[in-house]
């Protein structure tokens, strides 16, 4: 419990640092490209086009999803994935790849995964706004349900932080962890209601898929962006489950992080 408090305190105290460092992070990742940060938007754009072609046009043959055209249905969910995927994969290698740079013990180390995640937040915000505009002109006008977006955004950041605290600590100690994370991420998109529709599955299979907390976020974003309803209150036990998972992961993550952070440099 005390390590959880410590980590939260560090995040709040270093908020300015997190903001500045995340901008540098974004900059140094894109400095080599002529198009620079535009790639943060172009890359998802290319993927969305291909996924729409393969799954929407090819496999589904252009059929809609419960009255929603496939493209819009996919877009509203996949933008969460474009935030979650790079955040987890970069977040889990954040500590061991930067520890040399941070040669000071006084630097709050729990901030490292946070600023890496924040550097992925800016492209996500831009992508969300672009999606809202696209959806507005393709039959899903801006509605009151959009005010759920800040809530789900906060939920996503909280979950990513909790996960990255665990994976960044473990992958610093045992480098194989990074491979495990990559392997899971590579297939994760197929276990989420992003590219294909899960309604047709038996009830119990759907329940199993809902164990994954990212499922909650994808459906939440979709309800908000497509104006399908209030997802937070539609399934209250699921909302409680989600925050329970975040809390437990955060508790494990901060305990691990605080226990091992003094020795991170020894594991290099």
């Amino acid at each position: 419990m005390s390590s959880m408090y410590k980590v939260i305190k560090e995040q709040i105290e270093s908020f300015y640092l997190i903001r500045r460092l995340s901008l540098y992070e974004l900059k140094s990742a894109n400095n080599n490209n002529y198009l620079g940060m535009l790639w943060e938007i172009l890359n998802p754009g290319i993927q969305i086009t291909i996924f729409w072609f393969v799954f929407g046009f090819g496999i589904r043959g252009g059929r809609d999803v419960d009255g929603v055209p496939f493209f819009q249905w996919m877009l509203a969910g996949i933008i969460v994935w474009f935030f979650v995927n790079p955040s987890i994969s970069q977040g889990s290698k954040s500590i061991y790849s930067r520890i040399k740079m941070i040669s000071k013990m006084s630097f709050p180390m729990s901030v490292i995964p946070t600023y890496v995640i924040f550097s992925k937040l800016y492209p996500h915000l831009v992508l969300t706004i672009i999606s809202i505009i696209i959806l507005h002109f393709t039959g899903f006008p801006i509605s009151i349900y959009l005010i759920q977006i800040p809530y789900f955004l906060f939920g996503t950041v909280a979950l990513l932080l909790a996960i990255s605290l665990i994976t960044s600590t473990l992958s610093t100690i045992v480098r194989d962890m990074q491979q495990i994370v990559q392997a899971i991420l590579r297939v994760m998109i197929y276990l989420l209601p992003v590219l294909w529709v899960t309604f047709s599955l038996p009830e119990w299979v759907q329940s199993v898929m809902k164990i994954n907390p990212i499922f909650y976020l994808v459906e939440g974003y979709r309800h908000a962006l497509l104006g399908q309803g209030w997802y937070i209150t539609a399934d209250i036990p699921y909302t409680f489950y989600f925050w329970g998972v975040v809390l437990v992961l955060f508790w494990i993550g901060s305990a691990l992080h605080v226990k091992f952070r003094k020795h991170f440099i020894d594991f290099l």
Binding site: L17, R20, L21, Y24, K27, S28, A29, N31, N32, K100, M101, I102, S103, K104, M105, S106, F107, I173, V174, K262, H263, I265, D266
Partner: protein, 267 residues
């Protein structure tokens, strides 16, 4: 004068593993796996404000480990280090981001040290001027020569005004003119009562600058005292070591390595 750095019974133990599986078992199980190696063993000394202490010793004697431990980069296994104020380590290319430009690195590094945006703005021009980077400051650091990198690193560190400065071989890459400029800066620090640790293989620089010296040999203090006492002894040892035959040198190293693996005797 008051003490600014007190190093007491500092020991740094590393584990040498033969296989990666040993490392994993060592983390998970309470039983100890792997061979112990003492990079530093029971180091104790004190430094007063305004002291400039040189660390000498052959390769692998623990000079860099000791400087990293004092700077707080590496945690010690046992013992305590009390430092009055903030310590700053300058090593070759320490903590520069290769993808970013020199100017961005200045801001990044200062941010991490806890400076505000306004303070960084004020420091920036001084840092650039001291580093003599001129128009290269807006080029990415990956295109810098090693001399340029170390000049930038040195310049950032001295301008952030640390209380204790640790210089690990950082001057050996710069040219004579820059080294002299750094020595001037360090003399200024000295007059302001800052403590400095200086690691260099150049005995000339050491004599010119340090007052005290710590001679490390295979992780232990062989001799400690004023520069005039330690350096002649050290030079004598170096000459003897040079004259040894290859076999004798190997025996000498083997014996020392074995000593570094022995468990600590509890007092």
């Amino acid at each position: 004068m008051s003490k600014s750095v007190i190093v007491k019974n500092v020991t740094k133990k590393y584990k040498l593993y033969k296989k990666t599986s040993e490392k994993l078992l060592d983390i998970i199980l309470p039983k100890s796996y792997g061979e112990d190696f003492y990079a530093l063993r029971d180091i104790s000394f004190e430094a007063e404000e305004g002291d400039i202490i040189g660390f000498v010793g052959v390769n692998g004697s623990g000079k860099s480990t000791l400087s990293n431990v004092i700077a707080g980069v590496i945690p010690q296994t046992e013992g305590t280090i009390d430092i009055k104020g903030q310590a700053s380590l300058i090593a070759v290319s320490a903590g520069l981001n290769n993808q970013l430009t020199g100017r961005e690195n200045i801001e990044l590094k200062c941010l991490m040290l806890g400076f505000s945006k306004k303070e960084i703005k004020e420091l920036e021009s001084d840092i650039i001027e001291f580093a003599e980077l001129d128009k290269f400051i807006d080029q990415p650091v990956k295109s810098y020569s090693s001399g340029m990198k170390s000049r930038l690193g040195f310049s950032i560190s001295v301008h952030t005004d640390p209380d204790v400065l640790i210089i690990d071989e950082a001057l050996s890459v710069g040219d004579k003119a820059f080294a002299d400029k750094c020595l001037d800066k360090m003399n200024e620090f000295k007059s302001r009562g800052k403590t400095m640790f200086f690691i260099s293989h150049s005995i000339g620089q050491m004599k010119q600058f340090c007052e005290k010296a710590v001679w490390l040999e295979f992780g232990q203090i062989r001799m400690i005292g004023s520069i005039n006492e330690v350096i002649p002894e050290y030079e004598k040892f170096l000459n003897e070591y040079k004259l040894m035959s290859a076999q004798e040198k190997k025996d000498f190293r083997d014996k020392a390595l074995q000593r570094q693996s022995e468990p600590m005797l509890s007092l």
